[in-house]
């Protein structure tokens, strides 16, 4: 069954024809062509497909397209602030938070969500927030470091307005 829905995708209002039973992950990757959101398991266990849905991080492989009318969605392609990389993206580059990079988009979206909710997280907070995002390459050390560094930078940006 196809259905026409209105969504705001990475800040841009769009109208898309969706097959109601297809997943948000498939809508993004196959229909719209935004392949930055990764498919790691398709069953909500790995976090690679994390996007922000109405401001909250979700596994896009667990969301049906048919439910999305009126939704606001932010994917990795919408993480930049204007032309500038988001501080969390910069920190992942600086600290070596990405290796193969396949979990990275999901990690970044989850990190962004965490830092919006908790601008001053402890290491424990970060590890807890990212515990649903699997990474097989990095051992998480440099990812956790990157989120800590991004938190500092975001706080600095906020103070300096």
């Amino acid at each position: 069954m196809t259905k026409k829905i209105q969504i705001t995708l990475n800040g841009k209002k769009t109208s898309v024809e969706v097959q109601a039973h297809r997943l948000l992950l498939d809508l993004l990757r196959d229909e719209i062509g935004l392949t930055g959101t990764k498919e790691g398991c398709g069953t909500g266990d790995c976090g690679a497909c994390t996007v922000l849905l109405n401001g909250k991080p979700v596994n896009s492989c667990l969301i049906l397209s048919g439910e999305l009318d009126g939704a606001e969605i932010v994917t990795i392609e919408g993480l930049k602030i204007g032309p500038e990389l988001h501080p969390v993206q910069k920190a992942f580059i600086q600290d070596g938070g990405a290796q193969c990079g396949y979990c990275t988009p999901g990690m970044l979206m989850m990190s962004k969500a965490l830092l919006e909710e908790n601008p001053n997280p402890t290491e424990e907070d970060i590890r807890f927030a990212l515990s649903g995002n699997l990474c097989r390459c990095t051992g998480y050390a440099k990812i956790v470091q990157a989120v800590q560094d991004a938190a500092v930078e975001l706080r600095r940006m906020k103070t300096e307005g």
Binding site: R29, G33, L34, T35, G36, T37, K38, E39, G40, C41, G42, T43, D45, C46, A48, T75, I76, E77, L79, K80, L85, Q89, F92, I93, Q94, G96, A98, Q99, C100, G101, Y102, C103, T104, P105, L108, I126, R127, F128, L130, S131, G132, N133, L134, C135, R136, C137, T138, G139, Y140, A141, K142, I143, V144
Partner: protein
């Protein structure tokens, strides 16, 4: 020594930006024009004859373009034993074996049609452990084994289903037992685990109907080997195959050899020139790609009172799964150094790679070293305990140092092992005892040492191009699998040409244009391809210098390079940007190319009777890891408090990347120590093919990691570098196992050290003590 400008610096990855923006395109992301969607039908039986396949219903399903079975793809492949069909040929040998495949206009149609393929079976006896499969009288899983084409080094038997028997014979262990004051025999085991790279497997293939040329898009870690294996199987010249390598979302050994490729190629012959994509989902990746060898290790040692090792005998039973894949070489390269990085005069090792009716085992980061180390390094601690010796002192007494003749007949050099042992144990304050948080929570410390060879001999070739803008392209067949090779190789090229890193681009990997490379495996790339790129960069630099001579009115020896320019050593103001040199000589669109090649050719293959070689490996990697743990006796839970990992990397080309490799290896090692076990039941079914049930280490399972880089230069390596990719996980389970034994005062011989296992082992010990 020459001043290095960029080698040795912790520069950030050259591929980081495309990865943090989502712009990086992986194999799983790839969409081709007019592409069809493939779906595989997998065997439902572990060992059975196929009595009937009915594809009629599937063919009639709307949108279906092709349905194929083994009859349509009568091809067989294999790296050292040609035993594996593209699609099952009349029988199946494990649950998950590809039996048939469908190509359709969309994913849903392919899936629906695949479900309509009917397969009928007649069951045969099946074996789910290497010990059962090689018992006298066991039925042959490969009844035609004798007729298979095999590599020269394959020695099969003597027991049933043994596809490789590796022998190491040094001295006389019988004499050793007599000379020893203590003889200890033990048995350890390691279960099947999986690579679980975050990107599942996929392949795209297209056959040109006119020329018959096959193009395959696949994130394979050894494109040239895959190309050759496909060509050989199809019976066509290598030139008829082209392989394009998109970015790879992790592999760890699982994406070498042929996995999804044969299915995609077989389908592509039936789609009238349209490309077909075959993707495995996570469950399919778990059951039908590759796993790490389960291994049973028997180990017996003779030792003097003062701790001097006299003799060691080992038997290793490697569970190979249904097809040989890389089992023979894992068996050889994993069994050879299994007695540990120690001087031992009398050594006898028998390694057996055994077919079973389980998913196929093959290369896994560490290539057999973790299994041997799990046994050997805990066994060393048990010896120390019985001798009343400190475990570090026992190692120091026997450990490999420069100039030692290893028990496989090779004189060792550049051995940084002792320094890794000292630094790793210091980092966790070895010798300092601390009580647990509660009386039922026990603390312990442990460590483990390893050495690891690399695949030898192998070849790498590279090209380096400089254009009129002074931009540089590196042509290298090393696959960026996340390990950071693109950054390391860029650093090497930038160093030799004295240009900023931003000027370097890694050319896309297409076997039509990229020079040959053996494989991105075995921690070989920094060393082999690093040397090849370095030579290619020097070659192009020499050409640029030659071209610049008349322009600067100088002789070649008077010229030097810095900051992207060539200049007169005495008059640095007499300088030309390298791009300008190219333009002046060859015009605006000119390109100068340098080529380089590196093969480690010294030495000879292992002797088949003794396992000896005077150069078994181009270089060796050494490491010691140390762990501190807390074990809750009431729950069996092992909590890691800290882990230190000291690795002899030769000279570090990029310390940031080295630390990343060590930390990543540790996390994988921790997963394999505490959680990971791909469970196959007594019907041959994988019971936990999902990330919900197969527990990878999460951010909460990994403690504070202390990576320590030990630099012991390798004279043949580029800038003194060795390799590093694999050893990160090799000693980890043994280090944790030793820490758990220290905490509990009892040994656990089988992995993983899951709460259930630890709890029940404690209960059993209590029962025994009470009795």
């Amino acid at each position: 020594m020459e001043q290095l400008t960029i080698v040795g610096k912790p520069v950030t990855r050259v591929d980081a930006e495309e990865k943090v923006t989502g712009e990086a395109v992986y194999g799983y992301d790839l969409v081709l024009p007019k592409m069809l969607y493939g779906k595989t039908v997998f065997s439902a039986r572990p060992h059975a004859k196929i009595t009937r396949i009915n594809t009629e219903k599937a063919r009639r399903y709307p949108g279906v373009v092709a349905v194929i079975t083994g009859a349509d793809a009568p091809w067989t492949h294999g790296e050292s034993i040609k035993d594996k069909p593209f699609l099952a040929q009349g029988k199946v040998r494990y649950i998950g074996e590809p039996v048939a495949a469908v190509a359709a206009e969309d994913e849903d149609a392919a899936q629906a049609a695949a479900a309509l393929v009917e397969v009928e079976y007649e069951d045969l006896p099946a074996y789910f452990s290497p010990e059962d499969a090689c018992k006298p009288g066991a039925v042959a899983i490969h009844e035609d084994f004798a007729g298979y084409r095999k590599a020269d080094f394959i020695v099969s038997g003597p027991m049933p289903n043994v596809c490789e028997h590796f022998k190491l014979r040094t001295g006389d262990v019988e004499r050793g037992w007599k000379e020893a004051d203590l003889v200890l025999a033990e048995r350890y085991s390691v279960p099947t685990i999986q690579h679980a790279a975050m990107e599942p497997h996929s392949a795209h293939a297209q056959v040109d109907p006119e020329s018959g040329r096959v193009t395959i898009w696949v994130a394979n870690d050894a494109p040239f080997r895959a190309l050759h294996e496909i060509a050989e199987a199809l019976g066509v010249a290598n030139e008829k195959i082209r392989l394009i390598n998109p970015l790879q979302g992790g592999g760890f050994g699982s994406k070498g050899g042929l996995k999804v490729e044969p299915i995609a190629v077989a389908l592509a012959y039936h789609t009238k020139g349209r490309p077909v994509r075959v993707k495995f989902n996570r469950q399919e990746t778990f059951i039908s790609t590759l796993v790490r060898h389960e291994c049973i290790v028997e180990i017996k040692s003779g030792v003097k009172k003062d701790g001097t090792l006299v003799a060691r005998q080992m038997a290793l039973y490697w569970g190979g799964g249904a097809y040989a894949e890389k089992s023979p070489t894992v068996c050889i390269r994993g069994s050879l150094p299994a007695p540990g990085p120690y001087r031992i005069p009398h050594v006898k090792v028998d390694g057996y790679a055994v077919y079973t009716n389980k998913p196929v085992s093959g290369a896994f980061r560490g290539y057999g070293i973790p299994q041997g180390a799990w046994a050997c390094e805990q066994h060393m601690d048990e010896i120390a305990k019985r001798l009343g010796m400190d475990a570090v002192d026992l190692r120091l007494k026997n450990i490999f140092v420069d100039g030692d003749l290893a028990y496989w007949g090779e004189q060792l050099h550049s051995v940084g092992l002792k320094e890794t042992l000292i630094k790793a144990t210091q980092a966790i304050e070895w010798g300092k005892k601390q009580p647990g948080a509660r009386p039922t929570v026990k603390r312990g410390k442990g460590f483990a040492c390893i050495s690891k060879p690399t695949r030898t001999p192998t070849m790498s070739r590279a090209g380096v191009l400089v254009n009129g803008k002074g931009e540089i392209s590196v042509l290298a067949g090393t696959v960026e699998i996340g390990q950071g090779c693109s950054t390391i190789l860029s650093q090497v090229a930038a160093e030799e040409l004295k240009v900023p890193l931003e000027r370097i681009r890694m050319a896309p990997l297409d076997t039509d244009v990229i020079p040959f490379d053996a494989s991105t495996t075995s921690s070989r790339s920094t060393y082999h391809m690093g040397n090849a790129v370095r030579r290619a960069a020097i070659d192009v630099r020499e050409k640029l210098a030659e071209m610049a001579c008349p322009m600067l009115e100088a002789k070649k020896p008077d010229l030097a390079f810095a900051d992207g320019k060539v200049f007169l050593k005495d008059q640095p103001q007499m300088a030309l940007p390298i791009g300008e040199v190219v333009r002046r000589k060859l015009g605006n669109e000119g390109i100068v190319r340098g080529d380089g090649s590196y093969t480690y050719e010294i030495g000879k293959d292992l002797d088949l009777e003794t396992g000896h070689s005077d150069h078994a490996s181009a270089f060796y990697m050494y490491a010691t890891q140390a762990a501190e743990v807390e074990v809750d006796e009431e729950t069996g839970r092992v909590r890691l408090l800290r882990m230190a990992a000291a690795h002899d990397v030769g000279m570090a080309i990029n310390p940031l990347n080295c630390a990343g490799q060590i930390e990543g290896g540790l996390a994988m090692g921790i997963g394999s120590a505490l959680h990971e076990h791909l469970v196959v039941d007594d019907q041959g079914r994988v019971r936990n093919p999902s990330f919900l049930d197969y527990h990878l280490a999460t951010s909460l399972d990994v403690p504070k990691l202390i990576p320590i880089i030990v630099e012991c230069a390798e004279p043949e390596g580029p800038y003194g570098a060795k390799g590093l990719g694999e050893p990160g996980l090799a000693p980890t389970p043994a280090a944790i196992g030793n820490a758990v034994a220290d905490a509990l005062g009892m040994r656990i011989y089988d992995l993983p050290l899951s709460p259930e296992r630890v709890y029940w082992e404690i209960q059993q010990k209590k029962k025994k003590t009470a009795a």
